[in-house]
Amino acid sequence: MDMDLDKIQRLLEIVADSGMAEVKVEEGDFKLTVRATPKVEANSGPMMMAPPQAAPPPVASAAPAAAPASSPASEAAEPGSGADESLVLAPIVGTFYAAPSPDADPFVTVGDRVEVGQTLCIIEAMKLMNEIQAEEAGTVKQVLVQNAEPVEYDQPLFVIGQ
């Protein structure tokens, strides 16, 4: 095989379509190795075909099998993942309020030092204003939600650092 660009292009396409990770071609002195960029799939090994395609019909609908469920932990990989940082999670469902009343200043802003038991925000549910308190002392690094935004259980609200 000579260094025909068209053939090399075709080889690249074949490797990409097949899902193979690596192909080596040797002919005389000519050696060509093509490696595919690995897909970011949680459970794909080096030589395995992507599971949904390879599985026989018995696997149920593609939707659940396809994408790995993105958990809050992976989405929040950036906020709160640093050393000595922790997340304050919403303990209830409701509407997040940053301040005690519409005209008042927010309970906390970035940079504030907070003590254990200090009110960080309000989550309103069923007309009841629930004060959410800090369980650890630290410094507010990030405020992850906006005033009047709906929040669900376990939703990250603040990043508190030491």
Binding site: V59, G94, T95, A125, Y153, Q155
Partner: protein, 447 residues
């Protein structure tokens, strides 16, 4: 009604979402942290996490559900079955928050939820009830009078009772006093309360229930019956419609009785009136369930209706203009649970590694599970409802056996093998069984 919040999980949440979508309604799924990966959460238009796995802190937590409705702008709540579906307080709170509760009015739920009030309501409406004393009797003399009126044999039961204790069956007058005293003594020892009531003993009872829908505006119609006698420890495992023993006349009388009872409380929504039918084909009111039931699909299959749609329509204020819906053909449902039938039905939660549900003409599988799904230990063990529909009972049984053979669930134990054996039992095939049938049914151990 524009947006419905489904206050439930599992297969029924998905069931409700499907009908809502067909009706052009937006859907909101609420879920606990253990249910993040469920199909209802994926298929709903919006989803809100409302709490941790334990039901008391999520699916039963009223403020969390109401808050989820508030933040998503839902205007209606469908409670499914179980959980808060028969909680009058929840229905009332929904009303207070301008949320349409898909079900009866709070007062109706309260009334039918109290067994003695429900029984009295039915009796006044002319519905046959299990004859017996009016609550606890003062002494043996009163007990005997009640027994004579009800007709022997009678059950002498402890008012404070449970677990079969403080209970005696008196076959005739001669043994009544002796048994009455024995029951009272046992009840005093077991519960600290020796009071007894007397009820006619219903012999070889079959549990047959009538499905109905009322519009709360003067009309109630029925959709025929379901035979639910195949029960293990009071849990239904298999249901069918119609019942193998009902003829047109008995169906009409039971249907009319159920409707009379529902009209007496101006019933709104889907509901089920449960009856006990004895060996003489006399029927007696047992209780009324003011919600959609697990086994509703068999009724849908033989009446060609969507009962969830009926629920939504009457909740929106539509009036019923149709007559009763009589069954055509035959349908059977097998509840497939994550339990090991060969180890006393012990729960078998875990990850489903392979899943293929049966398909084909006349086969329906209502399920929320899929390959890769982990069945959590926190909730009930039902993972699928397998329903078949055919022209006759024999054909339905044949089809169900074919479907069970085709059902592949790997990674945990299920009750599929139990159903396979049940559906080949001669007495089942003959339609000859009552609520005690499974007590005597012997499962052949796996080879």
């Amino acid at each position: 009604m524009k947006k419905v919040l489904i206050a439930n999980r599992g297969e029924i949440a998905l069931r409700i979402i499907r009908t809502c979508r067909e009706m052009g309604l937006q859907t909101v799924a609420v879920y606990s942290t253990a249910d993040r990966d469920t199909l209802a959460v994926r298929f709903a238009d919006e989803a809100v996490c409302i709490g941790p796995a334990p039901s008391a802190q999520s699916y039963l937590k009223i403020p969390a559900i109401i808050a989820a409705a508030e933040v998503t702008g839902a205007d209606a709540v469908h409670p499914g079955y179980g959980f808060l579906s028969e909680n009058a307080e929840f229905a009332r709170i929904c009303d207070d928050h301008d949320l349409t509760f898909i079900g009866p009015k709070p007062e109706t739920i309260s009334k039918m939820g109290d067994k003695s009030v429900a029984k009295e309501t039915m009796r006044s409406a002319g519905v046959p009830v299990v004859p017996g004393s009016d609550g606890a009797v003062a002494d043996v003399k009163e007990g005997l009078a009640a027994a004579r009126e009800a007709g022997f044999p009678v059950m002498i039961k402890a008012s404070a009772g449970g677990g079969g204790r403080g209970m005696r069956m008196a076959r005739d007058e001669s043994e009544f006093e002796r048994l009455f005293v024995a029951a009272s003594t046992e009840a005093t020892n077991a519960f600290g309360d020796g009071r007894l009531y007397v009820e006619k003993f219903v012999e070889e009872p079959r549990h047959i229930e009538i499905q109905l829908v009322g519009d709360g505006q003067g009309t109630v119609v029925h959709f025929g019956e379901r035979e639910c006698s195949i029960q293990r420890r009071h849990q239904k495992l298999l249901e069918e419609a119609p019942s193998p023993i009902l003829d047109e006349d008995l169906r009409k009388r039971m249907g009319d009785a159920a409707i009379a009872g529902a009209l007496a409380v101006d019933y709104r929504g889907a509901g089920t009136v449960e009856f006990l039918v004895d060996k003489n084909r006399d029927f007696y009111f047992m209780e009324m369930n003011t919600r959609i039931q697990v086994e509703h699909p068999v009724t849908e299959e033989v009446t060609d209706t969507d009962l969830i749609e009926w629920q939504l329509r009457v909740a929106e204020g539509e009036t019923i203009t149709s007559g009763n819906h009589l069954p055509v053909g035959h349908s059977i449902e097998c509840r497939i649970n994550a339990e090991d039938p060969f180890r006393n039905f012990s729960p078998s939660p875990g990850k489903i590694t392979a899943f293929h549900s049966p398909k084909g003409r006349g086969v329906r599988c209502d399920t929320h599970v899929y390959a890769g799904y982990t069945v959590p230990p926190t909730y009930d063990s039902m993972i699928a409802k397998l329903i078949v529909r055919e022209t006759t009972r024999d054909r339905a049984i044949t089809k169900m056996l074919r479907a069970l053979d085709e059902f592949i669930i790997e990674g945990l134990k299920t009750t599929v093998p139990f159903h396979q054996q049940l559906l080949q039992d001669p007495r089942f095939l003959a339609g000859d069984f009552d609520t005690k049938f499974l007590e005597r049914f012997e499962l052949t151990q796996e080879g």
